[in-house]
Symmetry: C2
Subunit: 223 residues, 2 copies
């Protein structure tokens, strides 16, 4: 099969798409953004797959969950595919995000440029430390955690990042849910237990190091 364009025949309902496919969409998006920065206007499933270490068939199969995006003899138009993937991921519009915890990790995340580039704007941070409340960190106002519900409603915040110590994470997440937040990105090293309608993604930074140690221990030339 080529990257030929067809009417999106019968794309899968998005909720049935495997998680691994959705995370590869993010990788395709980053690679397309690199290509555009380097002056490329079009690409192919072969080129996209090669950089990321996937087969061209894998790339086409992943994208086919959502429609047909290629053109015969051209491949993919980078700008168009970027727009489509952002629409699928929901990042074609900016998300206002709340950051709970303005300690080292919260501060680091407030300064992380990658969020804004991808459509996430942290508009409010919360802490219980009176020394931090009222400050601006990286341009973001720090509110007393008491004011969470009020600020979340005022700013129509749907997503929140939890960057508090493990012992506080569950209680913080419950307050977020009560305030109307619908998605929680959790950096605390605990598993949150929240109502089913609330989406949670946990970030375990040690997993990345484990993948690295596996790769180092099992380098091909050593086997």
């Amino acid at each position: 099969m080529s990257d030929a364009k067809e009417k999106p025949a019968d794309p899968a309902p998005e909720s049935s798409v495997p998680k691994a496919v959705v995370s590869r969409l993010s990788l395709y998006l980053r690679e397309l953004q690199h290509l555009v920065r380097d002056g490329h206007e079009t690409t192919s499933s072969t080129q996209l797959g090669k950089v990321l270490g996937f087969t061209d068939a894998q790339v086409r199969k992943d994208l086919a969950y959502f429609g047909q995006f290629g053109y015969p003899g051209i491949g993919y138009r980078c700008d168009e595919l970027i727009r489509e993937i952002r629409r699928i991921l929901g990042t074609h519009r900016a998300w206002p995000v709340a950051m709970v915890g303005a300690g080292n990790l919260g501060r680091a995340l407030l300064g992380y440029k990658g969020f804004e580039q991808q459509g996430f704007r942290v508009v409010a941070a919360f802490d219980i430390d009176a020394g931090k409340v009222g400050q601006h960190i990286e341009g973001v106002p720090v509110y007393n955690f008491d004011r969470l519900a009020e600020v979340v409603r005022e700013q129509a915040i749907q997503l929140a990042i939890v960057a508090v110590p493990a012992a506080a994470a569950q209680a913080v997440a419950e307050k977020l849910v009560a305030a109307g937040v619908e998605g929680v990105l959790n950096f605390a090293p605990v598993t949150l237990s929240l109502p089913e309608h609330v989406q949670t993604v946990g970030v375990d930074l040690a997993i990345e190091l484990e993948q690295l140690s596996f790769a180092v221990v099992n380098r091909p030339e050593k086997v």
Copy 2:
């Protein structure tokens, strides 16, 4: 197939194992660690899979890449499977790790308890800021970046975390490689280009938020 124990018949050479399987090993390990903390001595592929949202067949297939770890009528012994997975991941021994960059992100990562729990001990941090050099952050000494090669050799450091601004990341990574580091965990939002024998894992924190926005946009009840 049951979780029956057999002699590791013919496990795959580790370098041919798909990356997705290796990252699931980390998830199995975390879940086993939770089970042990909760007082469980044994578990099954069904139980392990259920919590993580995988089928029992998937769990068994993943583990079968590395051998046979179950016992008939018992399932998996948690402690034993933890030991085996750590051996496979290379985290049965402690890795001394270097942190380059002691800004907000570096400081946050130095305070991240999850690393040490999983066998990674950050033993040295490096920065070019004279105001930071000589300090201890979370008990870790901060050295002048000039002393990288010397300290890496002295402490036999093989893994390093790059937490510097994007513009500096490639140059920093090249110095790490010249000093003998074999694996680089990169938090800077750029793709590093390093010799093939050096393993790199890039962390893109915005990907996690994209997965979250997709999940919120496509909640089953909305489709």
